[in-house]
C-alpha cells in the first residue's frame, strides 16, 4: 500500500524521499513559493511555503513527507501570514510594478495578487541598491532582487558556471557577480544561460525583449499563479 499524507483533509500519496512540496505538486495541490523551483535543490529561505505539519510550522519545499502527516496549507491564518511575508519582500527592496518590464510575468507580483495583497503594510526600507547594465544583452536591477538564489543555483547546477553568489549579512544581504570588476559584463554569463532567465522577479532582465508581449497579455494577466505553476509542474511530471 502506498504511503500518504493529508493536506487540508485530502489524502495525498507520496514516494519515499519526496518533500511535502513535491508530493503536493504531483497531486495538483498548490503551495505558494518563490525561492523554490523543482529543477533545483530546495533552498527554504523565502518561507512562503510554510505549512503546519501536525501543528508545527515547516517549510514544505525542504521538509520530507512522512506517512500520516496531517498538513494544513490553506488556512486563513497561513494565507494572512504568507501575505505579510510577501509584503516584507516588497518593502525590503524597491518594487514599482507599473514601471517594471516584468509586470504580468513576475512571480512576486503573481503571488501578491494570489494572496490578495492590497498594500505594502510595512514601512519601506528605501534601500540604496544599484543597477548593473554593463552587459550587452542582460541587465541586473538589484532593487528587485529577493535573494531567492535561483540564479546562483541555476548558474552552478545547470550552466556549470559560478556567475552569482549571495553576500552580506542580515538586511545588508546582496547578490554579487563573479568577475574581477564585480560587473556582469566581465563575468562568464551568456544570454542563453539558464541563470539569465530564471529570475522570478524583474531583477535579471534580457535587454530589448521587455515589451514584445504587451501588458495585459502576459502570463499572470491570463491566469492566477497557482494555476500556471501547477500546469507547468504537472507537465514536467508527466513529460
Amino acid at each position: 500500500m502506498s504511503k500518504t499524507i493529508t493536506i487540508d483533509g485530502i489524502e495525498v500519496p507520496f514516494q519515499e524521499g519526496q518533500t511535502i512540496m513535491e508530493a503536493a505538486s504531483a497531486a495538483n495541490v498548490y503551495i505558494p513559493h518563490l525561492c523554490h523551483n523543482p529543477d533545483y535543490e530546495p533552498h527554504g529561505s523565502c518561507k512562503l511555503c510554510t505549512v503546519k505539519v501536525n501543528g508545527r510550522s515547516c517549510t514544505a519545499c525542504t521538509f520530507p513527507a512522512v506517512d500520516g502527516q496531517e498538513i494544513s496549507n490553506s488556512s486563513t491564518e497561513l494565507a494572512e501570514d504568507r501575505k505579510k511575508i510577501t509584503q516584507m519582500l516588497f518593502v525590503e527592496g524597491n518594487h514599482f510594478c507599473p514601471s517594471c518590464e516584468k509586470t504580468g510575468n513576475c512571480q512576486l507580483q503573481g503571488i501578491a495578487y494570489h494572496l490578495n495583497m492590497l498594500d505594502n503594510h510595512y514601512p519601506h526600507f528605501f534601500a540604496d541598491r544599484e543597477m548593473d547594465a554593463s552587459h550587452p544583452d542582460l541587465l541586473i536591477d538589484h532593487n528587485r532582487c529577493i535573494f531567492c538564489s535561483l540564479c546562483v543555483r541555476a548558474s552552478q547546477e545547470t550552466d556549470g558556471k559560478n556567475v552569482f553568489a549571495i553576500s552580506g549579512r542580515g538586511i545588508n544581504k546582496r547578490l554579487i557577480i563573479n568577475s574581477a570588476s564585480g560587473k556582469l559584463k566581465d563575468s562568464d554569463i551568456d544570454v542563453n544561460d539558464c541563470a539569465a532567465h530564471i529570475c522570478p522577479t524583474g531583477a535579471i532582465l534580457i535587454k530589448r525583449t521587455g515589451y514584445t508581449i504587451p501588458i495585459g497579455q502576459r502570463v499572470y494577466d491570463q491566469q492566477q499563479i497557482d494555476q500556471v505553476t501547477l500546469t507547468k509542474e504537472l507537465d514536467k511530471h508527466d513529460g
Binding site: P42, G44, S45, C46, K47, L48, T50, S57, T59, T62, P64, D81, K84, I85, M88, L89, V91, E92, Y122, P123, F125, F147, N162, F164, A165, I166, S167, G168, R169, G170, I171, N172, K173, R174, I176, I177, N178, A180
Partner: protein, 592 residues
Amino acid sequence: MEQFIQQVVEENDFKSERLLAILREIQAEFRCISKDAVEIVASLLKIERTQIISVIEFYSFFHLKAVGQYDILISDSITDQMMGKQSLIDSLSKQLNVAIGSVREDGLVSLNNTSCTGMCDQGPAGLINGYALPRLTTQSIEQIVSLITQQTALSDWPQSLFKVTDNIHKSNLLLDNPIAQGEALKATLQRGLKQTLEEINISELRGRGGAGFNTAMKWRFCSEEKESERYVICNADEGEPGTFKDRVLLNSYAHQVFESMTVCSAIIGSKQGFLYLRGEYLYLYDQLQAVLDQRRQQGLLGKNIIQSGFDFDIEICLGAGAYICGEESALIESLEGKRGIPRNRPPYPVTQGYLNKPTVVDNVETFLAVAKIVINGGKEFSSLGTDKSKGTKILSISGDCQLPGIFEYPFGTTIKQILSDCGAEDVLGVQVGGPSGSFISNQEFDRILAFEDLATGGSFIIFNQSRNILDLVKNFTHFFAHESCGFCTPCRVGTSLLKKQFDKIADGHGSAGDLIALDELCQLVKNYSHCGLGQTAANPILSTLQRYPEIYQQQLKDISFEPGFDLDASLETARQLADRTDTNAHLTQVEE
C-alpha cells in the same frame, strides 16, 4: 603580500575549510582583505572569489577596506551600557579624533561598537586588534589614547590593561575539584565504552547550550550512523549577550573539557575534534594551544592515546564575529569555511554534520560535566536537580549586583536565592537566558532554574529599579537585527522591521494601532523564522509587553494614527536648500 598569503595558505594545507583561519591572518597582517588578496586566495585555494567575498562580508571582524592600525571595538551589550560604555566610547572618539564607525584619515585608528564580548562581569569592555580590554575606565581610556598616540606596539602595552579574571563566586559539583589529567580517560577504558555511555545516560545530562537535548542519546545516535568518519565539536561560540561562563571554563578547566571531547571521540568513533572558539576570545587561543600540546606530550591526545590504540586530535578554530555561529549547523558551515547560515533540518548534525559526516556538537559546559560523570558515575550527577533537569547549571551573573561573576547551582534553585547570593537589591527584573531568553519581573522570583521553568544557556542579567525596561528591550532588539544572518525573509526583514516599529513606539511616535502591529510582527517573526535566532528575536518585546503593557501604553500618542516617519523633520534638507525658516516652510504631521 603574495608571499605572505602563499605562506599562510600553505600552512593551512591549501584547505578551503580553513578559509576563516586564512582570512584572519590576512586581516591581522594587512588590516583588511583587499581585492588583490581575495584574488590570490581564490587562485591558491581553487575556489571562487565570490565565496571569499561573501565570507568577508558576513563576519564582523573581516573587512574589505582597511581598519585602523589600532582597531578598537567597544562592547555594546546592555551591561556595558549600564556601566557607562557610552561616555567612554564618546570620550575615545573625541580624544582620538575618530568618529564612531569610521577609520581616522591617517589610518592610525578606527573605532566602532561590537556585540557583547563576553566580559559582562568586568565591563565596560572592548577589543583592540581582537584582544580583550576589560574594565575600561576614564583612566584606562586616557592611557590607551596616549599609547596609541605614541604608536606603542600592542605587545609593549601594560599587561594590566588585558587582565581578565575568572570571578568564580559559587562552585558545586562541576567547579569543585577539577579532575586529574587523564583520569576520565582511564575511567572510560576501565569501565568500557558501552558502560561509560550508560553512565552518561544514567546521569540524564542534557545539553547546556540551551536546547537541552539528552547528551547520551545524541552520542548514541551519532555512533549508530553507518559511516566511517565522525566528528566531535565543542561549541565555544559563546555569543549570547550576558554569557561568559565558557570563557572561564576554557581559561581554568580546559584540560577537563578536552578530556571529555576525547572520551566522546572514543565512544562515537571519531578521530578529529574541533573547538570552535568565538573570535572575541582570541586572547585564550595561545594558552589553549599550549594545553593541547601538553596533552599530546602526555599521551592524552594524538596517536595511540594512553596506549589504548585509539587516535584523536583536536583543532582550535576561531570565529570572526557572528552570533549566529552559536547555532550548531551554522557553526558547522563556518567550520567548513563558509558563511554561518543555519542548515535546513532534517538532516541533523548527528547524521550529516561536518563535511556531511555524523557529528556531535556540544557546549563547553556539557563536556565539562561529562568528565565528572565518567569518573564518579551518573548517579552522583542525577541526584542533584529536578525531575527533568538533573545536575547543576553554571550561571554567568551580571548587571546590578555586588558580585558579578560565575555561580554554579543545582537545577531547581529559586531566582530569589540566586539574587540574594550575588547581592542584588531593589531588583526590577532579571533577563534569564540572555536576549533570546525571557525577562521576568520581581513578582516571579519564586520561579526556578530548570529546563521546565526558566531555561538558560547561562546568561543571567539583573536590572534594578533605576533601569528603564525600554532601554534594554531596545538594546536586545537592535542586537538581533544586527546579528540576523539574512537567510530567511521573516528574520532578515522582520528583525529590522521590529527594530523600526519598537523605536517608533519607544521614541514617542506610536499610536494605539502601533502596539497591535508590533505584537503581530512579533508573532510572525517568531512563528516563521528558519532558526532559533529569528524564533526568539521577538522575546524581549513579547515578554515585556506581556508584563508591562502600561510602559508601552505610556509611550503612545493620543491620536489614532501616526505615520511611520516624521514629515516635518524630512523637510529639513529642503528648508536648508531654500534657506527658509518661516512657518510656511513647516508642515504639521496630522491635521489638527
